[in-house]
């Protein structure tokens, strides 16, 4: 069991690293594209679509890790005034609701992924790309979100233990 947990953690953190690498790659690609245009060279046609796909992968690969590090923004303006027991019950209800919601999304995204693979449909952007590539990271992301919420539900950690001043946003 501990080996499985270790493997899962490697995947979780590995996906977050990949998210960082992909967004850095996107910046490099765009800089290269602008540079080529300014110097009069013909820019590569694949940059636009690749960056658009990277934005999706960047988000999906990092989302479960963000749950692990309590990086998803939430509002505690109401719950902070509740007694600890009520707070705990509400937290469990929240985790359960999120598990159900993620399960529904995961299930629907698997259907979409399978359909996309079977149909062989193409996404027409600046170049053609099989549409299933769009859906690959999504069921995985939501499946891992289910696991992360389950960790909170069974009490391995508490999602609400971050101080407000430690939260990040734009």
């Amino acid at each position: 069991m501990s080996g499985l947990v270790k493997l899962y953690n490697y995947v979780l953190f590995g996906m977050a690293y990949c998210s960082g690498v992909t967004i850095f790659m996107a910046v490099c690609l765009i800089v290269m594209d602008v540079g080529m245009r300014i110097t009069g060279l013909d820019p590569f046609v694949f940059v636009l679509t690749t960056v658009e796909y990277i934005l999706l992968y960047f988000t999906m690969l990092a989302a479960p890790w963000l749950l692990r590090i309590k990086g998803h923004v939430f509002i505690d303006a109401v719950t902070q005034f509740m007694p600890p027991t009520v707070k705990k019950v509400i937290a469990k209800l929240v985790y359960s609701a999120c598990i159900i919601a993620c399960s529904i999304y995961c299930w629907q995204l698997i259907i979409l992924l399978v359909e996309a693979i079977q149909s062989g449909e193409l996404d027409m952007r600046s170049y053609e790309i099989p549409i299933w590539i769009l859906f690959v990271p999504m069921p995985l992301c939501f499946f891992m979100c289910i696991i992360e919420f389950f960790r909170y539900l069974i009490g391995i950690d508490d999602m609400y233990s971050t101080a407000v001043e430690e939260r990040e946003s734009v």
């Binding site: 967004i23 850095f24 996107a26 765009i30 998803h72 509002i75 001043e165 990040e168 946003s169």
Partner: protein
């Protein structure tokens, strides 16, 4: 279902779930799932919402968001921000309240190089508060200017929130970014005037102190070396967009490259700084994108249920002036901002407010800037204004939320004055975009 019940159901569900502490992104996901069952009446719609959720975040126009975060983070973590402060520091003699004026000047320059108001506030707070305490500044003068100036990053380009707003509201990203440039600096001027007035009323709140000033040639050298090169980065972002040389996404990437080049030239570009910047980008960028992804269907549900159209028709039936409705929208945004962060507020209100503003005849770029200004104000309103908590995190032990909010209040008045100026002289916001 009548439009008002549909609106109350959807907005009520989002507000209730958020109030219960459901993470914002998952609030929208749950609302979408329940909303589809209520309004479409079949679970088959779930496949559609999962399919539609990729629509917004696979747009090239959203590209500047993570890149601006990376650029700002690089600027802070490589030490370039400190150099800017060192350069500005020699421009202010021993005038009373010099650290307050330095905060406004430094914060305005930071805002042209970073897209995050939270990062800006945190940086200014950690740099300036200890120094101000040491020099005997009272809490009002040591925190107020930082809170005011920190929020400037929301309107002065590059603004990550501006890009998000433009993308969600479907308006021109570049024009909205550029529109914030002039009003941002006018606001910085208003902050300086406010500090001057506060010092006149209470000179002991920020006492003058002896400063060892370098010679004039040395001062010129410091300014040329530490500040002027930053102008290159500003040009690579704002200039490229105005001149039409690059799209906002390309300008953002060029700006990030500019910061990397400057850091390399100043020999402060380290592997650690790069990794920290990328980590910050993943933390903030992916979190915001996940919210955007999950909220895409929410605005579609508002339209599908008839809530948006019904509300518009209802609002148009009143014989109220458009400025009265603008005032109502302002009050709603400020009230929401007392409990929510800017991204959540934006995703709830944009699908309703922007069509309404268009119907009332407001220029949408102008209105976008008005909304950003309101977000800036909402960020410093208690009890949930996130910038207040950022400030509290870097303030000396024992500082209360009340003190932080009270220190911010005069600067909120400046924000309100700027909004009135924008209403009186819309070209303040629209002149620069008109050049594009």
């Amino acid at each position: 279902m009548e439009w008002y019940w549909a609106l109350a159901t959807l907005i009520g569900m989002v507000v209730f779930l958020m109030a219960m502490g459901v993470p914002v992104a998952f609030t929208f996901i749950i609302t979408n799932i329940i909303g589809v069952v209520i309004f479409i009446g079949t679970m088959a719609g779930w496949t559609q919402i999962a399919d539609n959720s990729t629509q917004l975040i696979t747009r090239f126009t959203l590209g500047p968001v993570p890149i601006f975060i990376m650029m700002g983070s690089l600027f802070f973590h490589t030490g370039l921000a400190i150099r800017v402060f060192d350069g500005l520091d020699v421009l202010f003699g021993k005038l009373p309240g010099r650290l307050c004026f330095l905060t406004v000047a430094g914060g305005s320059v930071f805002s042209t190089l970073t897209g995050s108001s939270m990062a800006n506030t945190a940086m200014l707070g950690s740099l300036m508060v200890p120094e101000m305490q040491k020099r005997g500044y009272n809490w009002r003068m040591s925190m107020g200017p930082i809170l005011g100036t920190g929020g400037l990053a929301m309107i002065i380009p590059p603004s990550a929130l501006g890009v998000l707003l433009a993308s969600v509201a479907n308006i021109d990203v570049g024009r909205l970014l550029v529109a914030g440039f002039l009003p941002g600096f006018v606001l910085a001027g208003l902050y300086a005037v406010m500090i001057f007035i506060q010092l006149k009323l209470s000179p002991e709140s920020a006492p003058a102190y002896e400063v060892e000033m370098p010679s004039i040639p040395e001062r010129i050298r410091l300014v040329c070396v530490n500040i002027l090169p930053m102008g290159l980065v500003v040009f690579m972002v704002v200039g490229f967009i105005i001149l039409g040389w690059a799209t906002p996404t390309e300008a953002a990437a060029s700006g990030a490259l500019g910061v990397v080049i400057l850091a390399a030239l100043f020999r402060c570009l380290t592997f650690k700084a790069m990794v920290t910047a990328i980590e910050a980008t993943v933390k903030v960028g992916a979190m915001v994108f996940f919210i955007i992804m999950s909220s895409t269907v929410f605005s579609q549900l508002l339209a599908y249920s008839g809530a948006s159209a019904g509300l518009l028709e209802w609002a148009a039936s009143f014989e109220l002036s458009k400025y009265a409705i603008l005032g109502m929208m302002f009050v709603i945004l400020i009230a929401l901002g007392m409990f929510m962060d800017a991204t959540s507020m934006m995703l709830i209100t944009v699908p309703i407010f922007f069509p309404l503003a268009e119907l009332l005849g407001f220029d949408l770029i102008w209105f976008g800037l008005f909304v950003l200004m309101t977000f800036e104000m909402a960020g410093t309103t208690p009890p949930f204004g996130l910038l207040l908590y950022v400030m509290l995190g870097v303030a000396p032990k024992g500082t209360t939320l009340y003190q932080v909010a009270a220190a911010a209040f005069p600067f909120l008045v400046c924000d309100a004055v700027l909004i009135l100026m924008m209403i009186k002289w819309p070209n303040l916001a629209l002149w620069l975009p008109s050049l594009m």
